[in-house]
Amino acid sequence: MVSTRDRVRAAASGPSAAPPRRRGLLRARRRAGLLMVAPAVLHALIWIGIPLVAAIVLSFTSYDVLTPPRFIGLENFRDLLSDNVFRRAVLNTSIYTFFTVPVAMGIALLIALMLNTQLAGRAIFRTAIFIPQVTATIAVALVWLWIYDPRSGLANAILSFLGLDGPAWLSSTDWAMPAVIVVGIWQGIGLKMLIYLAALQSLPTELYEAASVDGASKFRQFFSLTLPLLRPATFFVFVTSVIGAFQSFDQVYILTDGGPANSTTMMTYEIYKSAFREFRMGYACAQSLVLFALLLFLTLLNRRITGGDRATR
């Protein structure tokens, strides 16, 4: 990859030494590049650039959509500091991310390792494990809503089969969050597994042959070869999963409505409530900027710790 890029760069450099025809070609190439990238850039400016700037501006205002925004300085951010529900949401989001991402990644890697063998019916297993991913979170959440139903749900049916009394999952302040986390893990495994599987399939086999010749055990090969070689994939999966987990909304919207007693409310859910139930757009923008700042901080921290990967460099 790097060598290709260097070659492209080499081919594009040194226009002064090139004959006129070549210079014309280079100019044509630049013009083509600009033209081809223009639609995407224009779209991004309108639907990402303007919204980002607007969110920053609106966060300093009081705005209910019906009357024009009113500048109120830092008031929204001061309110945020004393907003206990939002603080709870930040905490909940962090707990949710802390439990779902590593657990789902671990399980996904294990499954990928198992599927990365010559196995009859591999496509069937792969599809079964990916099924939660291709289904709308809303549909998935609806099925889980029923699984967690205290009287006629599957979860308590299994528990009572084992002779245990199940809790009232989603209406219990103690069990609602774990219940939401289980759904998050279960749904997140598919895509992570697929990315790991793709990464495993492109690992160099020569290294493993050499390791086998040297008498390294399977166990040793995994920890000394596979894990380090998978680092870029792990970085990619981790960063995208954290960004995804911090923004989960659909599950909570359907499963718990943030309750009971705010025990499962998430940052995105609070933003949604401020904006579209209370019509406090300015406040919602301030909340969403906190979310953005947290994500930016986490991603940078991540790159610092893991050294990043060349794909995002």
């Binding site: 959509v65 809303i138 793709a198 930016l296």
Partner: protein, 293 residues
């Protein structure tokens, strides 16, 4: 995997592997089996305590009733039109951008690429309010004047459902990674043959990254088909409702019509599972070459 493994130990390992994978697969598909079975249960079976896995009476009529209870055909058509438009637009615009950023260096190209990477990190929820406002105050649409006042803009229109999602920075990013790996000789040879830059992109390079196209197309289609919050926010009328939002008609404050809900959910899910079954081979290949290896 080395083929020299001796039989007995190898066979035990194999059996353990199959058992584990089968167990995991079952856990993953249980909610779907539950969904399928519930969709053909009678209200009596659904309320049964303890719950039964299989219905005592197969109520296939639930599907007919669910389809009659809400215009699901319209919802499905809307979802399909939106998802298909997003897929075509994304594949077209993002692949051109990704190609240009990977192969045609021009002043500002690395800055533009950095911009797209940065855009990946902006949460949907930071953008969604201003995007909603842009749609609401779109000048000269929906009775708005040139300053965007007086009407409803793009709210409750196809524009609002399709245009904002037409290109995603993630697609641009993925396409760039795919195009980066192609050999430069191909490009040079085509250029010597007198092909235009657009021709090289369309006729020479793009056919080589077919798995990438299928990957982006599948991800886009599924993401769009499953989108819930945006269509919920920007549409009001029944004729523009999408399937994910439409499902909520079976769930009210006091009463949920489980059988109909599950029948509707099944209808919304099956097309996505079929799509994945068809595209999964390319999907893994696509990710394998995405520069995340």
């Amino acid at each position: 995997m080395p083929p020299v493994e001796t039989s007995a130990r190898f066979r035990t390992g194999r059996i353990a592997l199959y058992l584990t994978l089968t167990a995991i697969s079952l856990v993953m598909i249980v909610p779907f089996v539950w969904m399928l079975l519930t969709s053909v249960k009678t209200p009596g079976d659904i309320a049964a305590v303890p719950p039964r896995l299989f219905p005592t009476e197969w109520a296939f009529g639930n599907y007919v009733d669910a389809l009659r209870a809400a215009p699901f055909a319209t919802y499905a058509r809307n979802s399909f039109v939106i998802a298909a438009s997003h897929t075509v637009l994304n594949v077209l615009i993002a692949s051109m951008a990704g190609y240009a950023l990977a192969r045609l260096r021009f002043r500002g190209s690395s800055l533009i690429f950095l911009g797209f990477v940065g855009a990946l990190m902006i949460p949907t929820y930071t953008k969604i309010l201003p995007e909603f406002l842009i749609v609401r105050f779109m000048p000269l649409f929906g009775g708005n004047d040139i300053t965007g006042q007086g009407g409803t803009g793009w709210l409750d229109t196809w524009w609002a459902l399709i245009i904002p999602g037409a290109v995603s920075p993630f697609s641009v990013f993925l396409f760039r990674q795919f195009y980066l790996d192609l050999p430069v000789e191909l490009e040079e040879a085509a250029r010597l043959d007198g092909l235009s830059e657009l021709g090289i992109y369309a006729r020479i390079m793009t056919p080589l990254v077919k798995p990438a196209f299928i990957t982006v197309a599948l991800l886009t289609f599924e993401g769009s088909w499953n989108n819930f919050l945006w269509p919920l926010l920007v549409t009001k009328s029944d004729s523009l409702r999408v399937i994910q939002v439409g499902l909520s008609v079976f769930r009210t404050e006091n009463d949920t019509q489980w059988a109909f809900l599950m029948a509707g959910t099944t209808l919304a899910t099956v097309p996505m599972v079929v799509l994945f079954l068809i595209g999964q081979r390319y999907f893994v290949q696509g990710f394998a070459t995405a520069g995340i290896k």
